[in-house]
């Protein structure tokens, strides 16, 4: 009896602590989720009610006006969706491909130039040419101005991800596995995609998630390289609207600007609706990548 209770206490928390920890976690997650829920609520508020009463949790009058506005004026929004999804998918695949190959090469101890190529990657983390030279390279040397590739290539390689993945290969793919492949007569490429890749799914998923988010949320490259309104990704479009709002507010003293332009900008609720529409799809990226986060695949594969 006595012994039983002891072992139970050892394995789990006392009910009081349990409740406390759960409450803390619940409170914390509420704090994280609340702002987004609030945005959703505002997007469903009637515009006029919002102006009179301000933001409220339970608005006096509900309305889907913002969403119908967004969809009516919104071939813009749909196009941006298309652009964002395209660059996210292509970009993530491309960067996974390049990063996984590069970091695998420099993770192999038998690679002669691994020090040079590691440094080569790290160097770009410490130093870069700055905005203007980068801009000149992309637009004038590579000729990518106004091209969707300008949104994909600059983010495709990332020295930090290379370092993460290299460390992942080095720690969780034992050399002995590579050796075993060699003994069985596999070439370097076969070893890579039949042995190493399947073992590194959690690492690849991490990098994949990072770069998906990176592509989805990137607006700065579009600001620099894209003039054509048909090629503007979602986040960049939101950013443009926000920037324009604040520009016009700052210059509201100039009556000719503010009068003409204020009317053409979306109202508060419509902006919130856009935020909701821009965020929803990416929420589903998390569960998709989550299933690859399984650890312990290599346990028992090698006897040290």
């Amino acid at each position: 009896m006595n012994k039983n209770r002891k072992s139970r206490n050892f394995m789990q928390l006392s009910p009081g602590w349990n409740a406390f920890s759960n409450a803390t976690a619940a409170l914390f997650s509420l704090l994280c989720v609340f702002p987004f829920l609030f945005v959703v609520l505002i997007s469903f508020t009637d515009e006029k009610t919002l102006a009179t009463n301000g933001y409220r949790l339970i608005p006096e009058k509900w309305s889907v006006g913002a969403y119908s506005y967004v969809f009516e004026t919104g071939d813009m929004l749909l196009k941006s969706y298309g652009v964002t999804i395209l660059i996210t998918v292509v970009g993530t695949l491309l960067s996974l491909f390049m990063i996984s190959l590069y970091s695998y090469a420099i993770s192999r101890k038998s690679f002669k130039y691994r020090r040079f190529f590691s440094l080569f990657a790290v160097f770009t983390m410490l130093f870069n040419g700055g905005m203007i030279p980068t801009y000149i390279i992309v637009t004038q040397v590579l000729g990518l101005k106004d091209s969707l590739w300008a949104l994909i290539w600059p983010l495709a390689m990332n020295a930090f991800y290379i370092m993460i993945l290299r460390t992942f290969y080095m720690t969780s793919v034992p050399d002995a596995i590579v050796e075993s492949g060699k003994i069985d007569g596999a070439g370097e490429f076969k070893i890579f995609y039949r042995l190493v890749l399947p073992l590194s799914l959690p690492g690849l998923a991490t990098i994949g998630l990072f770069s998906t988010l990176g592509y989805w949320n990137d607006w700065f490259n579009a600001l620099l390289y894209i003039d054509d309104p048909n090629k503007v990704p979602l986040q960049s479009m939101l950013m443009r609207i926000e920037n324009s709002m604040s520009f016009i507010q700052q210059n509201s003293a100039n009556s000719s600007i503010s009068l003409e332009v204020m009317q053409s900008l979306p109202q508060d609720t419509a902006r919130m609706a856009m935020v909701v529409l821009a965020t929803l799809p990416i929420i589903f990226a998390y569960p998709f990548f989550q299933r690859y986060f399984v650890s312990g695949l290599t346990i028992g594969s090698v006897k040290e």
Binding site: A51, T139, V141, N254, M262
Partner: protein, 488 residues
């Protein structure tokens, strides 16, 4: 040794790749230049939300300008908020451009003149821009000179700026209030008291954090405290917070704040659009232009009337509200000037650029009146940024004498004593940054009456002094004295 060779080979290979790609890029660039001997292809960057039909309209414009001056035009629109940053990159990277929009508020005119972004156009203006000189108000060209030279063509529109008190007419009518005697900040009090007593839910005096009580001074830099009195004869630069006028205004604002006329949020809120949208306000201050009352009323959906709060003053900011400059790297500066000349003198071209294609975006109802067609939503341009406004067709419900009213308004404008003087803060940039920080800290709270000026004004003045206000004023004064001596 071996290792070194390998590296060299690698670097060489990379260089080779870059060179090959670079060569391709260059070829692409040359093609457009080849056609240049015959027709100049002008590239025009301007501000505003990119419109769907810009290319279609510019094709028409190009057909017209090709015939007139043998040049074609490509317009690139950059959205309001992005303009500043994007143009900085474009200028710095030598992007091919010929004509760009610049103003006091977006992609700063004076700053970029000093950086050498624009071509100095004194000679071009006399040679190819005679039409501009004859047409637009001379105050514009005079006022937009930097260090004695012209670098851009201001749009001919309202020249002075004038502050007005705007009233929500529904409330004026309801309580039968007379605004005939309103002019100074103090004269508002009886009206505001009536509204406060009867309409507890209305924001009596609407304002946002950028509000600054009007005092008869012209600021060297908008919203920084260095200023010169409008009727000065000794051109002395003062700290606006030390002037009697401002002290009195701040005391009045504090009184209004304590009486509850001013919203407690005023010092932090970025815009009053909630108030104007809901109609839940009584009075605020705004900058006017002729016929603004009609526009405000139309925009808000209820009647708004205004009465002057200041004289109409021509300042650097008002003159530099919208300028088109020719870039320093323009391939065809002469053609660009010819085009600007045509844009500012030829009603056909000016209206095409502004309203689009007749029959598609708008229709004529008589000689100089037009009506927008539904397609106009694909070509909705900000008129103020595109050149001479006084050539524009009238809208359906504009009064016949719209542009005459503008001309009268411009004629009434009084030039600020420092019109055309542009302070170069390069020598005191550290102090300027510190002053900006101090300003962020105290400005809004003081100006909206949120804090007691008796207590906080001395603190703020001390903070400004510590930030190097005196050095800035000394430097500015030296520049101003020199400018005054030269001007005379």
């Amino acid at each position: 040794m071996n290792k070194g060779k390998g590296r060299l080979a690698l670097i060489a290979a990379m260089l080779a790749i870059v060179l090959v790609v670079g060569a391709c890029g260059n070829n692409g660039g040359n093609e457009s230049a080849d056609g240049a001997e015959e027709t100049a292809e002008l590239i025009w960057y301007t501000i505003g939300t990119p419109q769907k039909d810009v290319t279609a309209v510019m094709d028409q414009v190009s057909a017209y300008t090709k015939e007139k001056i043998n040049a074609t035009v490509t317009m690139k629109m950059i959205d309001w908020g992005d303009y500043q940053q994007k143009m900085q990159v474009n200028v710095a990277s030598g992007e091919p451009m010929d004509i760009i929009f610049t103003s006091a508020g977006g992609f700063d005119y004076v700053q970029n003149v000093r950086k050498g972004a624009f071509l100095q156009i004194d000679e071009l203006l006399t040679e190819y821009g005679q039409g501009i000189v004859d047409t637009i108000d001379p105050g514009f060209l005079e006022g937009s000179k930097v260090d004695g030279h012209n670098y851009g063509i201001p749009a001919n529109k309202e020249l002075p700026q004038q502050e007005v008190w705007r009233f929500n007419q529904n409330l004026l009518d309801k309580y039968d209030l007379d605004i005939g005697k309103v002019r100074s900040l103090e004269s508002l009090e009886p009206l505001m008291a009536t509204i406060k007593a009867n309409e507890p839910n209305v924001t009596v005096f609407g304002m946002d954090k950028n509000h600054v009580p009007y005092v008869p001074y012209d600021y060297l830099i908008t919203n920084l405290p260095m200023a010169v009195k409008l009727d000065t004869d000794d051109y002395k630069i003062v700290n606006i917070l030390e002037t009697d006028e401002m002290k009195q205004a701040l005391a009045t604002m504090r009184k209004y704040y304590q009486a509850g006329y001013i919203s407690p949020e005023a010092a932090t809120v970025g815009s009053t659009s909630d108030l104007t949208l809901s109609g839940n306000w009584f009075v605020d201050r705004a900058q006017t232009q002729p016929l603004a009352d009609n526009q405000w009323s139309a925009t808000y959906g209820y009647p708004v009337v205004s009465t002057p709060a200041s004289d109409a003053i021509i300042t650097n900011t008002s003159v530099q509200g919208s300028i088109m400059a020719i870039t320093a790297n323009s391939e065809y500066p002469e053609k660009a000037m010819e085009f600007l000349n045509l844009l500012n003198t030829d009603p056909v071209l000016r209206n095409m650029v502004d309203s689009g294609i007749e029959g598609t975006h708008y229709e004529k109802i008589d000689d100089n009146r037009m009506r927008n067609l539904p397609e106009a939503k694909n070509y909705d341009m900000p008129s103020y940024s595109l050149g001479n406004n006084m050539l524009l067709n009238l809208n359906e419900n504009d009064p016949d004498n719209k542009w005459d009213v503008f001309k009268e308004f411009n004629a009434e404008g009084v030039a600020s004593p420092i019109l055309g003087f542009n302070f170069d803060s390069a020598n005191v940039s550290t102090q300027m940054a510190a002053i900006q920080n101090v300003k962020e800290q105290y400005w809004s709270a003081l100006m909206t009456g949120t804090v007691d000026p008796d207590e906080y004004l001395p603190t703020a003045l001390e903070a400004f002094k510590q930030a190097g206000m005196d050095e800035v004023i000394t430097e500015a004064q030296a520049q101003l004295d020199e400018w005054v001596a030269e001007a005379k």
